[in-house]
């Protein structure tokens, strides 16, 4: 699940959570320039794919920006 | 498996006297006998005390609690400790119902538990309703604490047998026939075959439970004859978590076995008992849980009630057992204590099962206000809350011995409702 409201995602038990940057734009960031936003969205989807290939036992958060730095 | 007769002698009052005796519900505990039973190089002194229901007495730092029981002149009670394991025992087990012997004092891991014989905490401990012979003790100078523990345990078990011996020739108040569980393959007439798995803590010194005198650490789950448990085959040497501890007394009077027996032939078949260790690491837990589920299947259980001993670590095993059982197609119910914080709004279970169902034995963190008492046994100070043992105190249910009984002896549960009245307001 890609969402900004991570707490709710955890409460409802979503096993794999990727935090987005805004409620209105879970897979975007209008504060960035278009190329930067696109790049961020790529990293987001890559992170989502990483989450999908990771075994989890309970709601787990896979942050984008951690991975993004230097990745 | 064996059928057994529980020959019940009720105890309505107790006192110390020169000689041990039992007459018309009155138990006399002989002082000399008691001293001789606890004579040991590891013990410098013992001070026997009495605490009866309704008295303004608080027993602090209680250790093990044992019900006085005897096999009569043939002996054989507490195999592995007092009696050889393989000796054939008679069908009668004499019980002094309403009495208990217990030690109180310092041993490692003994978190400061308490039993209040009256007041708001009384309904939360089974031992507020027994006439208690309380053994305070002083370790001998330099005696290793494990030796102290052994001496105390030996003394308690012997005392339990000798007190019950005094009633053997009395006309019993009741005789309870305890049938053996039904073997697999016995026609059930459509009734479900329900068994119980009792997990035993196996964490080593002062946190161990003994089966035939030995720890189950490192072993797998095993089917076990409940008649053996009646005769003291399971003895507690585990002193942590007072509310989540199963003293020997509660194994002797195993509540889940009792409830299954009560309905045997009515709406269920009592299918058997499994004893199982609680390993302390992930690999062991998975292995033991998977095997236990297989064992229950092989034994022909349709459903299993699972009990534990301890807190979070034990909860882990409990959840894994339930999940393994349910995955194997057996219906499973576990007894858990909740840990939802003082206001009860935290998540109730930290390591709950994913499937199956859970009975609540109360909230570990719920606060209780206890009044001052006239006398305290076991010590003069409750170190964990830095208070005089006789003082008015506020404690969590976690501190009451047997307060969250994982074997299901208690009547406490949790209900989801807006906070209104605390435990003080409940009868």
């Amino acid at each position: 699940m890609v969402t900004n409201l991570v707490t709710i995602a955890e409460q409802v038990g979503a096993p794999r959570i990727v935090p987005g940057r805004g409620i209105q734009y879970p897979s975007g960031d209008p504060n960035l320039s278009p190329p930067a936003e696109h790049e961020w969205r790529r990293r987001l989807v890559e992170r989502a794919l990483a989450a999908l290939t990771t075994p989890v036992a309970k709601p787990t958060i896979f942050t984008v920006d951690e991975m993004g730095a230097g990745a | 498996m064996t059928a057994l007769r529980r020959v019940v002698h009720e105890v309505g009052s107790v006192e110390f006297g020169p000689a041990t005796g039992y007459h018309q519900h009155h138990l006399v505990v002989g002082r000399e006998l008691l001293e001789s039973l606890f004579a040991d190089p590891a013990l410098a002194a013992v001070r026997p005390r009495l605490a009866s229901p309704g008295e303004s007495v608080r027993i602090i730092t209680p250790l093990d609690v044992v019900e006085p029981r005897s096999k009569g002149p043939g002996g054989g009670m507490f195999p592995g400790f007092l009696a050889p394991v393989n000796r054939k025992r008679g069908p009668d087990t004499h019980v002094l119902r309403g009495a208990a012997v217990l030690a109180a004092g310092y041993l490692p891991r003994n978190q400061e538990g308490l039993i209040d014989m009256s007041g708001p905490a009384a309904p939360l401990s089974p031992f507020s309703r027994t006439h208690n012979v309380v053994i305070e003790f002083d370790p001998a100078e330099g005696a290793p604490l494990l030796e102290v523990e052994r001496a105390v345990r030996r003394g308690l078990l012997r005392l339990a047998v000798q007190l019950a011996d005094a009633a053997v020739d009395s006309t019993p108040d009741a005789v309870e026939e305890l049938a053996a569980p039904h073997r697999p393959g016995t026609p059930t007439g459509g009734l479900p075959r329900i068994g119980v798995i009792t997990n035993l803590q196996t964490q080593g010194a002062f946190k161990d439970v003994f089966v035939y005198g030995a720890s189950m650490a490192g072993s797998l789950a095993t089917l076990f004859d409940p008649a053996e448990i009646e005769d003291g085959a399971v003895v507690a040497g585990q002193y942590g978590h007072p509310a989540l501890r199963n003293p020997t007394y509660l194994h002797q009077n195993h509540p889940v076995i009792a409830e299954l027996r009560a309905r045997d032939g009515l709406d269920l078949h009592f299918a058997g008992v499994v004893l199982c260790p609680e390993p302390v690491e992930q690999g062991g837990k998975e292995h033991v849980s998977a095997h236990a589920a297989w064992l229950c299947q092989a034994a022909g259980f349709d459903a299993v009630i699972v009990t534990k001993e301890g807190a979070g670590n034990a909860d882990n095993d409990l959840g894994m057992k339930v999940d393994a059982l349910e995955a194997a197609g057996l219906t499973a119910v576990a007894l858990y204590a909740e840990m939802s914080g003082p206001e009860g709004t935290g998540p109730p279970l930290v390591a709950g099962p994913r499937r199956g169902a859970v009975v609540s034995t109360g909230n570990y963190d719920q606060r209780l206000k206890l009044p001052a008492v006239a006398h305290a046994l076991g010590g003069t100070r409750l170190r964990i809350i830095d208070a005089e043992a006789t003082a008015a105190i506020e404690v969590p249910v976690a501190m009451i011995l047997g307060g969250l009984s994982p074997l299901g002896a208690g009547r406490l549960t949790c209900r989801a409702e807006p906070p209104a009245v605390g435990l003080e307001g409940v009868a």
């Binding site: 975007g28 969205r41 | 169902a357 719920q366």
Partner: protein
Amino acid sequence: MRLVHYVNQFYAGLGGEDAAGLGPSVRDGAAGPGRLLQQLLGADHQIVATVVCGDDYAASDPAVSAELLGMARAAGAELLIAGPAFGSGRYGLVCARLVAAAQAAGLPAVASMHPDNPGIGEAGAAPVVAAGAVARQMRPTLERLAAAVAKLATGAPLTAEDGRVGATARIGRLVQDRAAKRAVELVLARLSGDRERTEVPIGGFDVVVPAAPVDKASAAAVALVTEGAVVPLGNPDRLESARATRWLRYPIEGVDSLASGTWESVAGGFATTHANADPNRLLPLDAARELEREGAIGHLHGEFFSTVGNGTTVATAKRFGVEWAAELRKAGVQAAILTAT
């Protein structure tokens, strides 16, 4: 008692979704629904100030609650009221956090929102009383809230009779039967088919058994799904903006990106301007397509599923989830990326 009322930007009259990004402010006296609330409270209690904040600003950072609480206290609050948030998730979340923070700081507080509000869980032990589902139910909602405030002001705890809802406490009770007996009864009930019954809810809100991970994303078929109500421009199939009763599916085979002007979001729960300017912000098709081309995704499923999460009941959402899983599995899809607003 001196009361301080918290409302969001909409109820303060500062604007709708366009003003959701506004920071906190405070004004004297009652505002918006606070006026009717004050009337209902009568002379005994006075709303001395109203704290306002935009939903997006407030909901996106838990630390904002401390700020709002500080403002309420500075305004002289002896009791804090938050809402009514009805079914609005962000507003409810902020109200819940605010009363939780107030309670923890020793300030009596009560929030008002619909029991299904997704934010309700964050109130913890702080009281929440039930509001209607929609603002049309303002009057009865405020009547209940006023009664709750009056009761709370006397120091009495709120109970179910006062309309109290939400994460209620699990309180210890001594009951007739010992736990061992209850365990036998429970196992018999479950054996006879009652698979719901349990004394302790298992897993809290919901237990989702995590699916086993996909072996390799580069070999997997992955679908994109959303509850952000992405639909073709004009919403030809009339997806609801709130309280969905259906979900829709649209082909994206050969489509590299969700173009603005071709697609839009009809979600009613938030301002859709950003999403409409670039619908990939709701469903990351452009990035996914690129990654598919590069081999990071084995195959991007040829259609996406869309519904609206806003105000949709848990039961309905669960049903949609089950249906989506079934459809995707039938189509050989192994994993899905769900965007949630």
